[in-house]
Symmetry: C2
Subunit: 220 residues, 2 copies
C-alpha cells in the first residue's frame, strides 16, 4: 500500500488545486472524525444525495442501510450484481473566514470525496465485522458493550462496501486572504472557529440507575 | 403559498415514512441553521457530491460557485440554458442514540433534501442580492459590514438558483427503541447530544487592534 491515492481525472479539482490532497493518512483521519456521510447515486437519470452512517476498515468503507432502502436495492445483491456507482462525501467545517471584502469570505473545512461502485456485503462474516465497524465508528468501543445483531436483525440490515481507491481530500485552513487595497477598511476580519461538540449523555428513561456511564462516553 | 410542500414520488421515502415532513417552516428552519450543503449532480453518467455554501431567500436557494467550477459550467448561462439537475441535501446531527442492541443504534438528525434543476443567476440585481444572502446565511448581518463585490469579482463569481418545490425534511428525535426482551441487559443506553459550536473569534494578524469585535459575532 502506497502512502497516497493515485489522482484521476475525477479527483483533480478544476479549481483551487493547491487545496487538494491524496495523502492516505489524511484521508483516513478526515473519514474517521465523522460518521455521517452524504451518499450520492443516480436514480432514473437524476442525482440523489442522502445522509448515511458509515464505518471504515482499512481502505474499505461500509455504508449502512436497510434491505428495503433505494440505494441498497439498486446495488443488487449476490456476487454477480453490478453494484451501484456512488460518490461518498464527508465534510468537516472548521471555521468561518471573515474577510474585509464579501468576495473573500470563506469557510475553513476538510472534506473527502470518494468515487466508486458500492457492492452489497453478502459474506456473513464480513457483514458482522462491518456492523461492528459501523457502531464503533460512531462510539469507539461500543460494539463490545451492546447485544450483537441476531439472525432476524442481520436479515433486515444491508451494508454497502465501497473501496477507497479513487479518492481525494480538500482542505482550506488559515485566515482571510484580503486584497492589499482592502487592508485599511474598518471591518473586523479573522476566523470564527467551528467544532462539533458532545453534551452530557442523557440516560434513557428505562435505564437501570445502577448502570454507570461507560468510560468511552464523554462525562459532559 | 401553502404551509407545506407537495409530496412527490421522489420525496416520499421508502423507509421510516413517519420521519418525513413537508412542512415549509420546518424545512426553512433546518436550511437556515447551516450554510454548507452537499450538492449532487450527474457528470458523465456518474454521481458527484460536493460540499458548497448556500443561502436562502424565501423559497429560493442560492448556491455559491465560481464561473470555472464544474457544476456551474454544466448548468450553462443565459436564460436559454437548460440548467443542471441537482439534489441538494443539508443534515444536522443532533445526537448519538445508544441502544442496548447494536441493531437499534441510531442518530438523531434533521435533514432536508431538495430535488430540482439549478440555473445560473444572470440578472445583475438578483446576483447582488444572492451574494448578500450567501454571506448573511453564514454570519447574519455581515454583508453590511464588508466591502461589496466589485465588477471584477462579480464576473468571477457564479451563483446557482434552486427553487424549493420538490423538497422534504426527515427527522429522528428521542431516545433508543430497544426490544422489550433487551430491557434488562446491562448496557448503558441513552442519547449523547451533539451540537455545532463556535469558539472565540481569532482576529487576523493584520487587523487594526482598534477594530472591535462586532456584535453579530460570538464573544467566545
Amino acid at each position: 500500500m502506497t502512502d497516497s491515492y493515485e489522482p484521476t481525472e475525477r479527483t483533480v479539482p478544476t479549481r483551487s488545486r493547491h487545496r487538494a490532497s491524496y495523502d492516505r493518512a489524511l484521508v483516513h483521519a478526515i473519514l474517521d472524525e465523522s460518521y455521517v456521510c452524504h451518499l450520492g447515486f443516480v436514480r432514473d437519470g437524476a442525482p440523489v444525495v442522502l445522509p448515511t452512517l458509515y464505518g471504515r476498515i482499512g481502505d474499505r468503507l461500509y455504508v449502512h442501510g436497510s434491505t428495503g432502502s433505494r440505494p441498497l436495492r439498486m446495488a443488487g445483491s449476490g456476487t454477480e450484481a453490478p453494484g451501484l456507482p456512488v460518490c461518498l462525501t464527508v465534510t468537516h467545517v472548521d471555521g468561518l473566514v471573515l474577510a474585509r471584502s464579501a468576495f473573500h469570505h470563506s469557510i475553513n473545512y476538510r472534506s473527502v470525496v470518494v468515487h466508486g461502485t458500492a457492492h452489497q456485503v453478502t459474506d456473513p462474516e464480513e457483514l458482522r465485522i462491518a456492523l461492528d465497524a459501523l457502531v464503533d465508528h460512531v462510539v469507539p468501543g461500543r460494539s463490545r458493550d451492546s447485544r450483537p445483531a441476531n439472525a432476524k436483525e442481520l436479515a433486515a440490515t444491508a451494508v454497502l462496501r465501497l473501496d477507497l481507491d479513487e479518492v481525494s481530500a480538500k482542505l482550506r485552513t488559515g485566515g482571510p486572504n484580503d486584497e492589499p487595497e482592502d487592508l485599511t477598511l474598518p471591518h473586523w476580519t479573522g476566523v470564527v472557529p467551528v467544532a462539533r461538540t458532545y453534551g452530557t449523555p442523557i440516560p434513557a428513561d428505562d435505564l437501570d440507575p445502577a448502570v454507570a456511564l461507560p468510560g468511552y462516553l464523554p462525562a459532559g
